[in-house]
Amino acid sequence: MAEQTLFSEADTSVEERLAAEALIVDVDGFEGPLDLLLTLSRTQKVDLRKISVLELAKQYLAFVEKAKELRIELAADYLVMAAWLAFLKSRLLLPPDPEEEGPSGEELAAHLAFQLERLQAMRDAAARLMGRDRLGRDFFGRGEEESVARIKTVTYTANLLDLMQAYARIRTKEDFRPFVMDRDSVFTMEEALDRMRHLLGFTGDWTDLISYLPDGWHSDPVKRRSATAATFAASLQLVKEGKAELRQSETFAPIQLRSLDEDT
């Protein structure tokens, strides 16, 4: 039924069909679903205040259907609007459920009509504004500014855009510098390995891995994380080399390490 209003060939003139096709092909030309709805509403040829939102919902849904058939990709907001209009349509068609919360179909329809009317009003206002007599086209300012050279003062100037762009430039500089590791809070695996090879000899017993963290790397979370990771990686290396063994009693329990090197 909705198809008929837009796409049936029986009761539409060639012109109207061309217009309908143009609508479809030119979907990119619409500035969003509201713009499309406004264009569709013109086929009703009535005052926007008296528009049938139900009819409009049907036309919109038919449009989206047709677009799907023609495999035209519709942007997400068109589909969101379609889903919402389908919901509105069902609200308007079904008898109101007294149990149901929220605004009635009529309220929703009235708001949509309001949005369409407001958008149309702003477009009309924009057209009237641009149609006014305008400076530099219809009326003119002083062509020749007078300069009476008496006091010559230099005024430095800048506009708001300069200011905001300058600020943005400073504050985003950091984002675009080449990636450099911040060496201050990074403990490398090489450093950890050095340290552990040295310490391992003194610990024949099972010792908590955390006790191998260097002094001053415990409290700052960033440093602690780096040192823990490096020490753990170094301990794996030592195990691989057959110089130590690792154990952990259960998940998340402390990891313990002991030397396997009998000679030291």
Partner: protein
């Protein structure tokens, strides 16, 4: 008529007020205002006039006299918010082909955004988007600000304290508007409720209600004198 005013100004100066005593006669003040407005291509603010004229002058009154004097002439004294300028009469535009400047072509989005800022000011970006039903594209606001037709207003006192946009004196100048109240059709649009930021019932895909009271107040302020 000017003579009467002149007398009134100087006599009151002589008898009542010492600071007025030295102020030039009103006819002279009118000449001064005339000279300053003629010399400047940009609108001149009342404050600027006060700063440039001798102490005790009343540029506002002088401007009113000057405006009357130029009624029906080839150039007119026009008011643009707090500023004043002399502009040619619009019906003589046909003589100025030489002076016509190429008006920058604005996109439909930019024109609509401009109209929404003018009629709904102060307006947030979210409100512009709600009215147009689409997001405001990159560069649209930027372009209007660069042209100096819109500027930042006060932040809205709602959660997130979003920035608002208002139109500038340059906008008024360009479109020959004395103030934002003189926007064409403003009264009718307001009467029809089309300038309200009506919150959607329940939740809508397009809706983002604002704090209406706050906004109405701010708007009233902006469109008042």
């Amino acid at each position: 008529m000017e003579d009467q005013i002149m007398d009134a100004a100087s006599s009151s100066g002589r008898t009542e007020n010492d600071t007025l005593f030295d102020a030039p006669p009103m006819a002279e003040q009118e000449r001064m205002v005339e000279a300053v407005l003629f010399a400047s291509a940009e609108p001149v603010t009342l404050r600027d006039l006060e700063g440039r004229m001798p102490p005790g002058c009343n540029p506002r009154e002088a401007l009113e006299h000057l405006r009357k004097r130029y009624e029906g002439r080839g150039v007119r004294v026009v008011r643009l918010g707090d500023a004043w300028a002399i502009r040619t009469a619009p019906d003589l535009g046909f003589l100025m082909q030489k002076e016509t400047t190429e008006l920058r072509k604005l996109s439909r989005a930019a024109i609509e955004t401009l109209a929404i800022v003018a009629y709904h000011q102060p307006v947030t970006r979210a409100e512009i988007e709600e009215i147009r039903g689409v997001s405001v594209s990159r560069g649209t606001i930027d372009q209007l600000m660069e042209m100096d037709w819109i500027r930042l207003g006060r932040r809205r006192m709602t959660p997130g304290r979003p920035v608002t946009f208002v139109v500038t004196p340059d906008f008024l100048d360009h479109f020959g508007l004395e103030s934002a109240r003189d926007l064409p059709g403003l009264k009718e649009l307001r009467a029809a409720g089309l300038l309200e930021n009506r919150p959607p019932p329940g939740s809508l895909p397009l809706g983002q209600g604002g704090d209406e009271d706050d906004e109405a107040e701010e708007q009233a302020e902006l469109f008042e004198e």
